[in-house]
Symmetry: C2
Subunit: 413 residues, 2 copies
């Protein structure tokens, strides 16, 4: 696959995140109210306003859920029609009036999240975290090589890129403390992840192949994490308030169709998987990922680079496993991949790993250091699949850390 | 408070679950489509069809979410108006045509569940389970007396009473097995719980008192649990597929207003709570609960009796804790109390406890025994607050266990 050319300004430029090959879906507001849009070059197309050839009802709400629920045939028809409208110059006169410059629009949540599930499926991440807590011999939990471990997160805290994130309060208890106290989180962290979005719903068990077909697209995802809250609360039932402050996603849903040329295999299995989890073909994607941190008023620097193909389990395997119990999956369900870490120090997807639990603070340009996030820090996730002369970009997933709110009266002695 | 009399047949009978004091909210279908209803005596009132004095839009959807979102003033106004219409004989002519006999209607989900959180907040239950796994000295996790431990469950699997529950498949690995296998659950269990339903939403931290005011009402809740799936999957991130097959709720939302005369205190604290979790007054309720089991074609027998006031943490405390991280709560959020167990063998809320992990099978009338649930078993939860000459009943929460589905091809070697 090579660059597909478009008449829209910027779309054919090298390094453009949104060439005609991409066509990611979002929701934008240019001051005239929120509408469904597709990014192309330096513009967003007001997709409901053009002759898309589909039911107008699919574009009535400012959210992609109705299109997602409509299923793969509609997805393919819309993509084909948009490729035609934005690729062939004969449509320019009809379509150009509905292009809005990206610069200046506000991007909103591209879909309504039904439920949010987060996984723990990068082996390097699980190994790093396990080593810190239990030593390298017992780093991986016994089930890890057999199950794509997941837990249910909180959909109400999923926010779109650009939303500021307020440092949470919570119960904290250090290993030396006799009793817990209620205080602002002191070990606030990021988690670099990809999010897979369920398009078509299911009832009962589905196979890995069926699960893969249910996935509408992908976003970048930062699962903000309060490590000190987590350490005290998570036994025996898992993370709860430590993960409920915010989960940021990038504003554009990059479709599975756009990513198809970038399929990558999961790594060689260290333990044979049960048959239901075996993949009929490569189901990961080769997507370069990076995390950048900018202190308040300071310069941004990249603190990690990795790739989605580092995962041990694909989103299709995770979704398949999610349905084994008969659990119904719905349009708008969001599945976080789990923190994506590579095998080298520069490729770790969380500050917990980068600073090795705070023991080896990260050095930033200008002399500042970070063990965990400080107030005023802005984090930006970026990602793109690199094609032959083009890229499938995700746009940025950014969020600034605000100080904790003042202590409410009812929390005081 | 004593019995409030009604002109509706059955409402003043001793032992009636639905006297005028109760007025629980549900959704019913008598063959003419689903509508919002209130139970009274032997009938359900088609509440949208009478002169309720509120916005008709609140009764447009067959779900109580719009009323729940409208807040405490609307809740009080509706309750006052229904009390008038169903209590004063002068309204009989206008209202009676909109009463439908309860016998013969199908009861549907009374509200749309936004998200489902399940807690672990009965000390006897936590102690029993902990004793089985870690011995009595280490039975309670270190955080248990400080935190109302909770985890996010799956809203898509919440079903209304009467829905049959299919035994799940899952990854199982016994302590002696070298590798896991994919098989139907062999340790399928119930969990006797109460569910609290969030009416008014919140953004940011709320106090226990504010949380209590956000709660619209309560239901009985059976959180079906696959103990063998849970044992293998739950470390380190908590229960996932073990709890995703089904969660059954009783069909009537019993309002906090109806339960107000039955307030009960949480027990004496064994460790002082942090200030934010302290209650300004009694926030539990005195609600008698029971579980009955009927084998296929066999007789029903009560296998457990307990009371909601056995909880260590109230729903208000749980909801308050849920918001500490800044987690937004929404109309329709459902909070499971956690399994409710008393201190005696006959008051345990799960078969895991009743059969002590399968070591002491429960004897049923007629000679059958149960360690865990068998196909064809029907479970029924019942509950009521006992007033002076009346009761606030919840109606039954029932579910029959169906055999696992045949093994799908893709799960075979």
């Amino acid at each position: 696959m090579s660059l597909m050319t478009s008449w829209v300004a910027g779309a054919d430029e090298p390094g453009c995140d949104f060439p005609l090959n991409n066509l990611p879906y979002g929701v934008f507001d240019d001051g005239r109210g929120p509408r469904m849009g597709v990014a192309i070059g330096d513009f967003v197309l007001d997709v409901g306003a053009v002759d898309h050839g589909l039911e107008p009802a699919l574009f009535a709400a400012p959210s992609w859920n109705a299109v997602m629920a409509a299923g793969p045939e509609v997805w393919a028809a819309l993509r084909a029609r948009l490729t035609e409208l934005l690729g062939q110059a004969e449509h320019r006169a009809a379509v150009a009036p509905h292009l809005v410059p990206l610069e200046g629009v506000r991007l909103l949540m591209p879909f309504a999240v039904s439920e949010f599930t987060d996984f723990y499926a990068s082996k390097n991440h699980a190994f790093n975290v396990g080593t810190m807590f239990r030593g390298p011999e017992n780093a991986l939990p016994p089930n890890w090589l057999s199950i794509p471990i997941g837990y249910n997160g909180r959909a109400s805290s999923v926010v779109v890129s650009g939303t500021e994130v307020t440092r949470p309060w919570g119960q904290l208890k250090g290993p030396q403390d006799e009793m817990p106290r209620f205080a602002p989180c002191a070990r606030f962290d990021l988690e670099l992840e990809m999010g897979a979005i369920v398009g078509t719903p299911s009832q009962g068990m589905v196979s890995v192949a069926q699960a893969d077909e249910m996935i509408f697209g992908y976003v970048l995802l930062n699962d903000w994490s309060a490590r000190d809250i987590q350490a005290w609360e998570y036994q025996p039932l898992g993370p709860f308030q430590a993960k409920a402050t915010a989960t940021s996603i990038s504003p554009w849903i990059v479709t599975a169709a756009a990513l198809a040329p970038f399929r990558a295999p999961t790594p060689k299995r260290e333990r044979e998987l049960l048959p239901y989890l075996r993949e009929p073909g490569p189901m990961l994607y080769d997507i370069d990922l990076e995390v950048a941190l900018a202190p308040e008023g300071g310069e941004e620097s990249v603190i990690a680079r990795t790739n989605y193909a580092e995962m041990y389990y694909s989103a299709a395997q995770q979704l398949c496993h999610h349905t084994t119990s008969g659990c119904a999956m719905r349009t708008g369900d969001l599945l976080g991949s789990g923190t994506i870490s590579g095998s080298t120090p520069g490729s770790r997807g969380s500050l917990l790993e980068m600073s090795w639990g705070g023991k080896e603070p990260l050095e930033l340009p200008g002399g500042a250091t970070r063990s965990f996030l400080e107030d005023g820090d802005t984090l930006t996730l970026r990602g793109a699949a690199q094609g032959d002369g083009y890229r499938i970009g995700f746009g940025a997933c950014t969020g600034k850390v605000l100080p904790a709110v003042p202590q409410p009266d009812w929390t005081k002695d």
